[in-house]
């Protein structure tokens, strides 16, 4: 049986997210909008992909899995121009790195893409 056809889909259709700061690192908690999409996120939103997505903006990426919350937690190191009070950035505390991650595209089965886009309408 051939593998189901994959199409690229932005994470905004599959997940919601919240971010905050840890010193000069931002954290992004990425939460599947439907629990059945968590495994797709776990397989596709890899450290390598997230590092590539944020290249030039962060110095390193760590990932933790929280299957109980259908969530992944990312630490984006060196993301905040020194962080806290030192940073000159508008987003000195990394509050909206969450939405920057939701711009990322991952390959998903066409049926999932259709369902996710439909749910977003």
């Amino acid at each position: 049986m051939p593998a189901p056809k994959s199409v690229p889909l932005q994470l905004r259709y599959l997940a919601h997210a919240r971010s905050g700061d840890k010193g000069n690192s931002a954290n992004v908690g990425l939460i599947a909008l439907e629990p059945e999409w968590y495994d797709l996120l776990r397989r596709q939103v890899t450290v390598a992909r997230v590092r590539r997505h944020f290249r030039g903006m962060v110095s390193g990426v760590d990932r933790y899995e929280l299957p109980n919350l259908s969530a992944l937690n990312f630490l984006l190191h060196g993301a905040l121009d020194g962080g806290g009070t030192i940073s000159l950035k508008t987003d000195a505390q990394g509050k909206v790195y969450s939405t920057a991650l939701l711009r990322m595209e991952i390959p998903v089965p066409a049926a999932v893409a259709r369902a996710a886009r439909k749910a977003a309408r």
Binding site: K22, N27, G84, T85
Partner: protein, 458 residues
């Protein structure tokens, strides 16, 4: 089997949070405790500065008039309060509350528990000499490198002194630097008499504390999922945990308030500022966030169960603030057509002028608000038809004079740079002193013998 429930309400998520929230929490329905968190990481240094100018200052001043508004209700209903509003002067804060209580006719009717001993500034050199290096947890640098610039140093205390104050019948517990989560843990351990070495209970209380310590951020505020469907946010319900003797709890809010308590709203708060979820470390124990189970059991009710914990570590975290340098941020707005190109041209001119003046900066950061300020290059190319773009340039330096000179280079661009520029009515940018945060660890045996609990009566 006990069916007893203890209700702990979050009243403030930070110093500057919505002033009506604590009032509505005590008036809007049954609660047993109100916890109010005032201390962000750098708040202590701001308070330290205020205290150095005025020995009676150094605490979150808003707390006192707020107590004035809720005092009649909390006395009538028997609601008790835990708060770290004491900052670097918990005694001053406690005395102000006692004066207030007497002025309101509650003499002899209010006991304030005062927790002190977190302030390590007076002992800092003694501690360094004794071999506590207080290295920066992120960089590994020893504190001795910046000793002369230290403004405040406070250990994060756990729940123990607050439990003691509640055991000794304090109605209001006022502390300096304690953990946000301890403000919630203390009422739970006091009420149920749990063993402080019952790590699963410590972990459960820690998670409960984490959920309510940022105010409405767990009950609909800043909620991304289906944000358009979050209703009634002119009167947001702040979160309340209803805790059972077995350590499980329900997150809810008062009836008739706006916002939402859902698995999504609680999950977004759980992942906020998260590090390694297996090890959420507090002075009281270590919580494993991968064991948390959430279940929607009714409208605006989420049950939280299954939380596992591990023993506390021998170390306490120390929050140190030090003088880092100076910064300023200037902005100008450029309008269509070619708004982004005009803003970029202005940035190039500004940078050339700073260079020609020979000014030294550790950092000059340019952002184009409306183009790349929040998402950088991920936002894609600028829209050539954008109605306006804000140029936002920040500088940072140890040289105050250089930053001061920068603040005088923004307005001149209006008549000496690209056209269609506006938005400078706010005047010259302000020079800000940068007080930076230095997180360190210390052996708890160096701190805990100095922790004191006093019960003061109005």
């Amino acid at each position: 089997m006990s069916a007893r429930i203890v209700r702990i309400a979050g009243g403030q998520g930070f110093w500057g949070d919505w002033l009506e929230a604590p009032v509505r929490q005590v008036e809007g329905g049954p609660i047993d405790y109100l916890m109010m968190d005032y201390l962000a990481e750098v708040t202590m240094s701001i308070l330290q500065k205020q205290k150095s100018r005025n020995p009676e200052a150094g605490y979150a001043r808003d707390f006192v008039p707020l107590m004035g508004r809720i005092l009649p209700t909390i006395v009538a209903k028997g609601i008790r309060v835990t708060s770290n509003a004491g900052g670097v002067n918990p005694r001053g804060c406690a005395e102000a509350v006692l004066r207030l209580a007497r002025d309101h006719g509650f003499a002899g009717k209010l006991k304030v528990g005062l927790v002190s001993g977190d302030d390590l500034l007076p002992r800092l050199d003694e501690l360094l000499t004794a071999g506590h290096q207080l290295r920066d947890m992120e960089t590994g640098q020893p504190l001795s490198d910046i000793r002369s610039r230290v403004l405040s140093a406070n250990a994060y205390l756990g729940m123990a002194p607050m439990v003691e104050a509640l055991d000794r019948d304090a109605h209001v517990v006022i502390t300096g630097r304690v953990t946000d989560t301890g403000l919630t843990l203390a009422p739970m351990f006091h009420e149920f008499g749990w063993d402080p070495d019952d790590w699963d209970k410590v972990a459960a209380g820690t998670v409960a504390g984490h959920i309510i310590e940022c105010g409405a951020q767990s009950s609909g505020g800043n909620l991304l999922k289906d944000w358009r469907k979050v209703k009634g946010m002119a009167n947001p319900g702040f979160p309340i945990v209803e805790v059972s003797d077995n350590g499980s709890f329900v997150v809810t809010k008062h009836p008739g308030t706006g916002g939402v308590v859902s698995v999504a709203s609680v999950t977004e708060q759980l992942v906020y500022e998260m590090g390694n979820p297996h090890e959420y470390i507090t002075p009281d124990g270590v919580a494993d966030f991968t064991t948390i189970r959430l279940e929607q059991t009714g409208k605006d009710r989420v049950r939280v169960t299954g939380i596992r914990g591990a023993p506390r570590t021998p170390m306490l975290k120390v929050s140190i603030a030090y003088s880092y340098g100076f910064k300023a941020v200037g902005t100008l707005v450029y309008s269509w057509p070619d708004a982004y190109d005009k803003a970029r041209a202005a940035d190039r001119i500004l940078r050339q002028r700073l260079k020609d003046l020979g000014l030294e900066f550790e950092q000059v950061l340019t952002e184009f608000v409306g183009v790349d300020a929040t998402h950088g290059r991920l936002a894609g190319p600028a829209d050539p038809e954008a109605p306006e773009v804000q140029l936002r340039v920040g500088v940072r330096s140890t040289d105050r004079a250089a930053v001061e000179r920068f603040t005088r280079e923004i307005a001149p661009l209006v008549l000496t740079g690209p056209p269609s520029v506006t938005g400078f009515a706010g005047g010259r940018p302000q020079v800000e002193e940068v007080v930076a945060y230095w997180p360190a660890l210390i052996d708890r045996t160096a701190v805990e013998p100095g922790v004191r609990v006093e019960i003061l009566e109005a």
